[in-house]
Structure formats: structure tokens, C-alpha cells
Subunit: 383 residues, 3 copies
């Protein structure tokens, strides 16, 4: 067993403590979070390789907004509100699909190009002064980093790279943009989205909740190595006799190209605020995207991504990684759900943190800063 | 193809536009609509022939009110709140039924005549000063027009005929009161009641949504011929090779007696505010009654009514009409539901109307007038 | 038929009437009741013999509070909020169970003795100034009367015996503490908790609702013999040819030891505010505990308790009592549910009471007093 990194950490203020109960249960708080966090920041929609061809689209719901994300004829990815400009009808009802060159509203046949321009509106020519160019699909911010699609509903948004800060540089050598998806699970979890982030942010619970995970990456071997205004995270060290996180703890795939010796023995866990969890293994990437639905309900999409070169091999099989983490996910969702029951109860008194839980404090400060309108925050803990 | 009537219409103001999204989603707005529209106007309960004999009753729920409508020993139809005057218990739990001369509360056996008078109250004689005559079932307004039963919860209500205005005169020659029901479908629709009225009020959607309907009555052939303070509507012209709205577009029944040559080639569509849709075909009547349950949920009862003389024939079969419209209804409910999803979303911006959608504007003005307390409104568009 | 006791009662004020409708439907009223009644009084959790051994526990939910009730190593029964002092996680997820000497939080393994003391908290020793003794499970009031466990969330609570007043003395000769449970049914009822108490408090409904019960104890033969600030009740007389309340009306068990001649022909019905209904038969005890969940939903646990000496007999069979009352319960729940539909409706006007319904008035005064903050109330009716 190697050195105990977390014990070195002494960054938490003496009175550091989890959030009060109403932050996890009050519909008004969730509504504020939706408006001030999810609808005002770059939120991750998923991976670009889900829409490889022009006309391929996905839809995403965040709060009361439904968004179409589509690849254009010019191969650029764009995002629009999923509403016809005539009487507001939802245009695409499915979570994903493919159209041929245009979207047609199923109600009155108003038709829009993949760039959002209105190209057909039956009988509107008979209406005095009607000008087609004034009624495109309402566009929202859309950009891509390392294969991850982000969208932003804020009309006054800053560019994606400003929000991501040093994260692209930190991840650069992994070339995550090249990866392709080989597995997907979706979960409806009866817990507040913040409990899921908080659960992800510490391994203090691993001995009890994740015996299989803890065997491969002991909960005491790791450290927090990245702290930004809009992300945080760290890594855990893979035990001597293991090589990656799978049921057997052994790699059946080569290492990602270009990674360091250290990287070969680490799993990195980053929270990219507000909704992307990035788990970088020596040979595969796992992502979670979080979608708050109610104060006590969150929809989570978990996906596994691999080097497309490796995926071409006849013996490629992602199930050791997918199966291991599906099991581990479910262990986590269970404790998140009993946490939700607890923090929703009158008897909940926020208690003291261990040093291993400092990232919870950091993430909670992010939430409180956004709720208070402090959009230009700095990390609370030193990097 | 005959003349294009809708194109002649130039009645909409330049800035006419659908209602804002919260009108379709806000529970407080629905509560106001229930109080200022459904519980303050004559609301249609259904057809008189559903309760042909003394003691036959139906119950209806509108907002938080539940009402019994019963035919008395004198054959008159009356309406009462469905509450015992003792401790308020719901007396009739079923949507319809038959009692023998009286209603008995199932809790403590208080018993009421079909005229609502309290005729039995065990042990109340032992209570000092108890006066049976002071505790009848609480009556509400009830009247019948053309076979349609209406009830009115407003203690200061005006007579039904004042609300109906010219509608009885317009429909007189059809003798709708003589018809009898031969079909019924009920639907729970995940859409606001106003979206359902609005969908009924234009055929601009027919080419895309209703290919079968549009084949028989082309969406461009028709006009709006009736505009009142409390109703509106128009007609569509049946194509040359067709004779009524059925799957085949052919009549298997004689025309209604007494109708004009024009009537024989028309289907009339009237919205009798707030909740009755009257669809008069050359050989049958279809009615919809609308019952808002939540901002995004409406219960709709659709019925088909025929000449009882014709119903006696051995070859009488209503299924060509019932089946055609059940299919067409479901096509409409689907677009109403995706409309609801759309107008409930952040991306909804009310857009411009075509000339074919002027009745939506008229109906929306009715709603806004009632919400603003303008009960003596005039139609917004010229008749 | 013996003398008609209820008719002697002339205690109700002339204007006595049931509560207005919003008391049964308004979530804000229920929230107030939870806080001012259920979370501020001694509330009955069930029977002590459900947790006979050290480490046996039950959990109970009242409003937003979840409580563990556990028997300690010293055999004393104690109650705690079911929340870990670390991050609030619910510790026990099951309604009952057994632990070996301690509770361990399933999230991070914080461990508590059966007396609530924190005895293990991994890695907290590394946290400066952490003092284990300051983080016990948060205790709440717990006491036992006659085998019934009560808990009290009010930090300023008075002792249980003050709340129970004369009730222990009234019940003394029955030695209810010695009884053991032999039957249990739980019900989810779509009615406000007060409608269930009110239904329990009068037999005016018995002829219509309970023909089987009314055959054995005629609804006119009985009286109200106990009225306190925090309880009320009375008795009904068993008909000449019957001996207890079962399907056949015949006893197959001996009388409770030590009861009077009068007791042998009576069934006593007491409401111990706020949530315990005590039905004392000559040969068995039935209890109901009521758990409000929503304004219109109550969870009710009904249990049957017998002399353990009798239970040892080879021919002991509780099913005549359990089956009779399960049938009778369901008859009551049905009328409670149509009562809820009634009082939730616009047409509900509270009416006059019969003399047989005086306990409803008394109970309603209790509720109104507590809502108004009058915790030192006196009974409204003379005892």
C-alpha cells in the first residue's frame, strides 16, 4: 500500500459541514439551481459521436427547456429550442433521431433547415408583412470540447473555453475527442443531483459500499490534484497487482496512447460543473451526465468510451468495464437514495467532514456562489 | 374544388398571436378558469337521453365541485351538489345510475327526494329545533337546450338562453333535441383544455394530421359563419364525390329531415363556450364535452347522436361515423399533447397566425375577458 | 334492548357542527397538525412486545421525522432520530429489525451504541478537536404505558403521565401491559386522519355500514363515559345472546382476569390523542395507530392483543376477532373515503350533529385548540 495522500490535506475550515436539508428538498431551490446553474452555464449534453452525420440529432431537457442538438450539412453541431415558431409545438418528440435536411413541425408543417432557418410555412405568404427570415428556430449556445457537446441557454454567455479553464490542458494528453462510445446505461435515481456529485467526490464510503472497487483502488491511496472555479477532482492509485477498474482488475486493452507512467496506475475523477463527471481510466473513459428532474429525482446517463482502433479488434469486449461500473453505480445510487431520505428528515443535523471529503465542501461552495449570483467565483480551497 | 373562403377573411389584428405559455401550465390560471368560466357559466353535462326515466342520474365533476343531475318524478331534470347536508359525504359515487324515488346517503341514511328535499334523517327529531325543510340537497342551476343538459353553479346566474344567444336559432332546423346517442368514447388527454378547443377551431393542421378527413372535406373549402360572445364556429364543404364524414366518405343513412341543400354538403363545427363542441353532419351529430382536470390534463367525452327513426332500422350501424372520428380524435389528441409539451417549455415564443386560425384568436379573447371579469363581453371579431 | 344512553346526552352546543372542508384538504393545515399535534405530543408507536430483546428496533415516520425505537442492553426502550450525525444518512431503512449491540450507518460506517452514543467514526480522529461524545444519535422522548410505546419530539415535553391524565387509572384493571400481539393488518386509506377518528367516535353509522357489528352491539345501547383534555370515549353494550365481537358474536376465550361484571358485557372505545384508538373487548384488545401521510391519505395499523396464557393453549385461534374487525375496518374505510370526497368538494356545508355524535365535537375542539396553541386545554364537554 502506497502513501496516504488524503491525510496530507488540511484545507477545510474548522466549521466545514454539509449543506442544510432544504438544499436537497425545496422545489424553489431546485428552480433557482436550474436557472442560475444549468440554464446559465455550459451544460454537457453528451458525446459528439452520438450524432455523426448531418441530420443526426439528440434532444435534451433541462428544467423547463427542451433543446435539439443537430449536426448541420456543414457538419457543425448546433442547438435550438425544440419549439415551432408558429404555435410552439414540440418539433422532435424522440430523444434522438435522424432527419433528411430539415425539421418539419408535425402540427402545421412549418419546416426548418438544419441551421434553424424557416424554409416553409404554408399559407403564411397570404399574411401581410410576414417575413420568413424573422422566424428561425431559436438558437442557443453550442460548442464541443474533447468530444463532449455543451449547450448554453444564457443569451449573455461567455465562450465555453472560459468556463472550462485549465481542464482542456489537464486532459490534453488523453485525446478524449478521439474516443467512441461502446456502452450506455441510464438510471432514474431518487436523490438530489448534488448528493450524486457529493457521493462521486469522496472515496471515504468505498470500503463499506464498494468492496470490489476498493480492492483494486484502495480508498486511502489517492489525492485531489485539480481545483478550479468550475471543476474539481483528483485521482486514485491502482493497486500493485491490478491494472484497471474491471471485475478482475486486469486490463484486456492497451493503455491510451500518449499517457504517462503515472497515468497508467491512476484513475482520474473530475467533476466538470455543473453536470459532467469524467472518470479517466488507463484504457477507457467513463462519463456521467446528470439531469435534475425534481429535488429528489435525478436522471443519470453513464457511458463508456474507448479508442476506436481498439474497438475494431475482433476480441474487443467492453463488458468488463461496463459491468463493473454498472454494479458500482447501483451501489452508489442506493446510498444516495438513503442519503436523500436522511437529509429530507427533521432529524438531520449537518455534521463534521473528514479530510477525505474536502471536494464536497468545494462543490457546495460552487453551488452557494451561483445561487448568490457570484458567477465570477474563485475556488474556495487552494489548488 | 370550390371557392377558398378562409382567404377572404382579413379580420385578425396585425399583432394577433397565441396565448403565452403560462396560460396552459399555471395551476393558478386553471383555478381562475374553473371559477370564472366553468363554475360561473352554463356548462354542458351531456345529453338528456342519458337519463330518460325518473330516478336516472349522472354525476359530473368540475373543479372541486361534484354535481348530481337527476330526472325527477315530474320528468324535469334537476341538479344538486353531490353532498349530504349532514357531514358532507358524497352521496353518489358512480358516474351514472338509477335510484328508486330517493337518494340515501350511504353513511348515516339521510334520505332525499328526487327534488332534493330531505325526507328522512334518523334521530334528528331528538335534536332541538331541527327543521327538515332547511336541509335539502343544495340545488344548482339546470336547464336543457336541444337535448343538451347544462348546469350552472353561479347563484347569480342569468338564464341559459341568454348565454346561448343566437345558437338555438342557428341550429333550429336540425331538431337536435330529437336525436339519440348510439356511440361514446372517453379520452384522458395530456393537454390543456384550451389547446383542445384551439385544435378544434382550425383545419390548417388537417393536411398533415388528418389525411382521411382532408380527403372528404378539403381544409381550404369552408368558412367561419358564426361569432357570438359565447360561441363561435363555421363549416367545411364536403367534396363532390363524398356525402358525409366516414371512412369511405359515403352516407349510409338519410339526411337529417328539414335541412337545406347547403346543409347537405356541409359539416358545421361550433364551440359553445365553455365546454361543448358541436359537430353537425348531414346525417349525424357528434358532440365533445371537455373537463379540465389539471393544467395539462383534460378529460373529453365524445358522443355520436342519430335520428331515432333511423336507429330503428335493422341495418343501422353507427360504426362508420364512430370509427372515423375515433381515429381522427386520436390524431388530434396526439398533436394537442406535443403542443402542450411545447407551450410548457422555456423556448416557446407565440408566433403569427394564418387567416385560417382566426377562431383561436376569438376564443382566446373570450378566455381573457372572463379572467378579467368581463362577463358582458362582445365578440372580438365582426360576425 | 336495554336503555338508550346516548339519548340522555344533551351536551352539544346548539350550533355544534363538523369542521369546515379545508381542515381535511389543506396541506398547510396538515403541516400545522403534524407540528403542533403529532410532533409536539406523545404519539403512540405501537406495542412494546414488538421489540422484546436488546437490539430489536422499529422505525416510525411522522411528518418529515423518522425515528428509531430500540430496546437497549439494559432492556430500556429508547427513541432516536434515524439520521447519522455525519451527513444525515438514514441509518435503518426497514420498518423493523434486530441489530447486534450497535447501529452502523451504511454510508461511511459511523457506529452507535443502542444508547445512541457514537462508538466508531473512521478517520475522524485525524480531524482536529473532534470529540466523539458530542455526536450521539439525537434522542427524542420515549416512554411506555400499559405496553404501548410513545415517543415525543418536543424538546420541552412534559412527562407522558401528564398527557395521559386519568386514562391509566381507567384502564388499570385490564392489565393491558401483559397482553401479546396475535394479529396485524395495515391499511392505506384515502381519507384525512381526522375523518378516521370521527368515524371511530360514533355508532350512528352502524346500522347502515356495519350490519354484523350492529347485530352484536346495537348502536343505541351505549354511552360516553370518559372525557379528558387528551382522550375521550365510551362503551357499547353487548346484546343478551352474545358475548364478544366476533363473526358469531360468541367468545371462545375466557374473560380478561380481574374485570367487572359490567366489563363482561361491554366493548370500550377510547381515542388517546393524537393517534391511538383503544378498543377493549371482554377477551381481547384491538388497537389502531393512525399515521397521516397527506391531507387525504392516512396509514393505519390495526393490531389484536390477547392474554399470553390463553395464547399458549393448543386451540387458541385469534381469527374470529381479527376477521370480524378486518371486515368492519374495511366497511369504515370505505365511508371515510367517500366522506373525504365529500368534504373536499365545493358543495360541502357542515350540517347539524345528532346527540350520538358529541365525541366528534369534543375531538374537533381538541384539534382546534392545538392549532391555536392552546396546549393546556380542558375538555369542551362536561365529563
Amino acid at each position: 500500500m502506497t502513501k496516504y495522500n488524503y491525510a496530507d490535506s488540511r484545507r477545510l475550515p474548522a466549521d466545514a459541514s454539509p449543506l442544510a436539508g432544504h438544499y436537497y428538498t425545496d422545489p424553489a431551490i431546485l428552480q433557482e439551481e436550474v436557472e442560475k446553474i444549468f440554464q446559465s452555464m455550459w451544460t454537457c449534453a453528451g458525446r459528439e459521436d452520438e450524432i455523426p452525420e448531418p441530420g443526426d440529432y439528440i434532444t435534451r431537457q433541462i428544467g423547463n427547456a427542451n433543446v435539439i442538438i443537430v449536426r448541420g450539412e456543414d457538419r457543425k453541431v448546433r442547438a435550438f429550442y425544440n419549439n415551432c415558431r408558429h404555435r410552439g409545438t414540440r418539433i422532435c418528440s424522440e430523444p434522438s433521431g435522424r432527419v433528411k435536411g430539415s425539421f418539419q413541425c408535425p402540427y402545421h408543417a412549418w419546416t426548418y433547415g438544419l441551421d434553424g432557418q424557416l424554409i416553409g410555412a404554408p399559407h403564411m405568404a397570404e399574411v401581410e408583412n410576414f417575413d420568413k427570415s424573422k422566424f428561425p428556430l431559436a438558437g442557443v449556445g453550442c460548442d464541443v470540447w474533447a468530444g463532449h457537446i455543451f449547450f448554453n441557454l444564457d443569451p449573455n454567455r461567455k465562450p465555453l473555453w472560459e468556463q472550462l479553464e485549465k481542464m482542456p490542458k489537464i486532459m490534453e494528453r488523453f485525446n478524449l475527442g478521439d474516443l467512441r462510445r461502446a456502452g450506455r446505461h441510464a438510471y432514474d435515481i431518487k436523490a438530489n443531483w448534488k448528493l450524486i456529485v457529493e457521493n462521486y467526490s469522496e472515496c471515504y464510503h468505498c470500503p463499506l459500499i464498494h468492496p470490489q472497487l476498493n480492492r483494486v483502488t484502495n480508498y486511502l491511496n489517492g489525492g485531489n490534484d485539480a481545483m478550479g472555479a468550475n471543476f474539481n477532482g483528483g485521482f486514485q492509485i491502482i493497486g500493485d497487482q491490478f491494472s484497471t477498474l474491471t471485475v478482475k482488475g486486469k486490463k484486456t486493452r492497451p493503455y491510451f496512447k500518449g499517457i504517462t507512467k503515472d497515468d497508467q496506475k491512476r484513475v482520474y475523477y473530475y467533476v466538470i460543473y455543473p453536470n459532467l463527471l469524467l472518470s479517466v481510466h488507463p484504457d477507457y473513459l467513463m462519463t456521467h451526465t446528470l439531469w435534475p428532474k425534481e429535488p429528489g429525482v435525478t436522471y443519470v446517463v453513464c457511458e463508456w468510451h474507448f479508442d476506436p482502433e481498439v474497438m475494431k479488434r475482433s476480441d474487443f469486449d467492453p463488458s468488463d468495464a461496463v459491468g463493473f461500473w454498472d454494479m458500482t453505480n447501483k451501489q452508489d445510487w442506493h446510498v444516495c437514495e438513503i442519503s436523500q431520505l436522511g437529509v429530507a428528515s427533521k432529524g438531520y443535523i449537518p455534521g463534521p467532514f473528514t479530510h477525505q471529503e474536502e471536494l464536497l465542501y468545494e462543490f457546495d461552495r460552487f453551488v452557494l456562489d451561483r445561487l448568490a449570483g457570484r458567477t465570477n467565483r474563485k475556488p474556495a480551497l487552494a489548488s
